[in-house]
């Protein structure tokens, strides 16, 4: 703090020591954020004993494929990966379509109770899903959807966040004059939505798609409740199943699977980070 006072003329200048301290904290934070990813890869590429090596081993090894081979012996890893890909894709396509439709209606139509209904949508964002898990399970049992992907896909087909996100974007990105012009030309409501609105809002739809895909891909609680059979497991359940002491914890094996399951999301995130961050933090910023 004394350095602060010394440079009162320009408060943004912290002085040499201040600057070093500033960067140390920021870089330390970044290291803590990134290290577990690196560590995951370190354990995945070294042999079984490496994980509890003293002092900790920090270099990459060449055992990745051996470790991964043991994953394939223990679990239908690629089946689980495929299941997750299928479920996440289906949910994402549906969420993007229905949320865009609803967001468009909230942004560009006038109808009775519009604001109340929209606030209701927002309010549902704060209701934790776990609370309704028992009746939802019973519904699924009645529909004979237990242990089926339908139980994962159908309840997730449209969500409040997506509606909120699309409404925000459509309000500013789609000009009302364009819609009116389309209507004067005699276009139907859905046609105007499809031909005039959609082309303008694809970036927001893509962002929603990525975010939603990640959420579904990472989901654990609900798949754990409804999936019973090994061949239906999603990737998160398959990972959790590998984590067992039955024949000693084989961390090299576990981490090679975890790394493989995390890598696709990491790549997508790094490619689209600006959009993903904007999307994931938008809830707070706009409300």
């Amino acid at each position: 703090m004394s350095t602060l006072r010394a440079f009162k003329k320009n408060p943004d200048d912290l002085g040499f020591i201040g600057k070093i301290g500033y960067y140390i904290v920021l870089i330390l934070g970044a290291l803590v954020s990134v290290f577990p990813f690196y560590w995951m890869f370190v354990v995945a590429t070294n042999d079984k004993g490496a994980v509890f090596h003293v002092p900790p081993l920090l270099t990459l090894g060449d055992q990745f494929f051996d470790n991964f081979k043991r994953v394939l012996e223990k679990a239908d890893f690629f089946q689980a990966l495929g299941n997750s890909l299928f479920v996440s894709s289906m949910v994402t396509i549906s969420v993007v379509f229905f949320c865009t439709l609803a967001g468009y209606a909230f942004a560009k139509y006038e109808f009775p109770f519009k604001n109340i209904l929209f606030y209701f949508v927002i309010a549902t964002l704060f209701v934790p899903q776990q609370l309704g898990v028992l009746p939802t399970y019973v519904i699924m049992a009645k529909l004979h959807w237990i242990d089926s992907f339908k139980a994962l896909i159908v309840p997730a087909m449209v969500n409040a966040f997506g509606i909120f996100w699309m409404r925000q974007y459509i309000s500013t990105a789609v000009h009302t004059e364009l819609i009116e012009a389309g209507r004067i030309d005699g276009g139907g409501h859905f046609r105007i939505f499809w031909n005039i609105a959609i082309p303008v809002i694809t970036p927001a739809m893509a962002t929603l798609g990525i975010l939603n895909f990640m959420t579904v891909w990472n989901d654990f609680f609900w798949p754990l409740v409804v999936l019973k059979n090994k061949e239906h497991f999603t990737i998160q359940i398959a990972l959790q199943q590998l984590f067992t002491t039955r024949d000693g914890l084989d961390y090299g094996m576990i981490m090679s699977a975890t790394f493989t399951a995390t890598l696709p999301l990491l790549i997508v995130f790094l490619l689209f980070s600006r959009w993903v961050i904007a999307g994931l933090t938008s809830g707070a910023i706009k409300s």
Binding site: Y22, L26, F52, V138, I139, N218, L224, A261, F269
Partner: protein
Amino acid sequence: MAEPVLTSPHAESKRPFLTEQRRSRITAYTFISPFFILFSIFGLYPIFFTIYLSFFKWDALGPMKFVGLKNYDLVTSDPTFWISFTNTLIMGLMGTVPQIILALLLAVLLHSGMTKFKKTFRILYFMPNITSIVAVTLVFSTLFGNNGMINWLLNGLGLDSMAFNSGWWGVKIAISTMVMWRWTGYNAIIFLSGLQSIPVDLYEAARIDGANRRQQLTFITLPLLRPFIVFVTLLSTIGALQLFTEPYVFLGQSGTGSTRQEGITMVTYLYSEAFRNGFFGTAAATAVLLFVVTIIFSLLNMLVSSRMGGDTGGGKA
């Protein structure tokens, strides 16, 4: 809400009573109806049915038997329930409070405009949040092993090793750390966007009036950041009360160990009552209690923040 089902957007009739305005309203209701239909079935109905279910004895298969308040009696006289309750609160506090303070600090540092690498830091800080909780838990379970890196670091600092996967506090520290790791950066980015929304001329005016850095922080930054802090705290609190995956996976190594007392949370208790023991009635009672606790904490949150708001509001005027 019955209207939209009757007419699809394509079925546009030219009959005079379907005016342009009416048609556009029906279209709008149709467009928003999927959410309300799905939410009524999988969101609203389950909440009410959970309350109803909490008065019955039921194993999800046979007939339901009305038992009045007996489920609540059973749950509240079960010591494990109270352990899960205290665990949830302790881990909630340990995971949330330091996390929000740290996130604020990081956001202020990132915002100060000194670094040219702001975008890079933003991406790095955000990375933990895209990882699945299962992956986070698995990675941290290696770091928190008995001979893991954290204990190695503790020993290096001259401290004793901690039993992170079995000790009463060890488990809680490990799980809170996982929660913190996944969410601190996310919250920091939210706070950063909040900071960026504060007009720069406010600071310039304060500087001309001779306000130092700390005064600027307490009289401009924190009050204007308040809505963001309230939002983040509310979401973190609700999230903390629903804690499940971390303890379930972290302590679940032996298949049945996930309900171990050091790390059992309210949702874990609910899950094991329903899906392990088949007591849907007591599980429903637990869900209702959890719902009540969630509402109480959310209201408490808003009460505290509105009081804070009263103070700063007075200060501004």
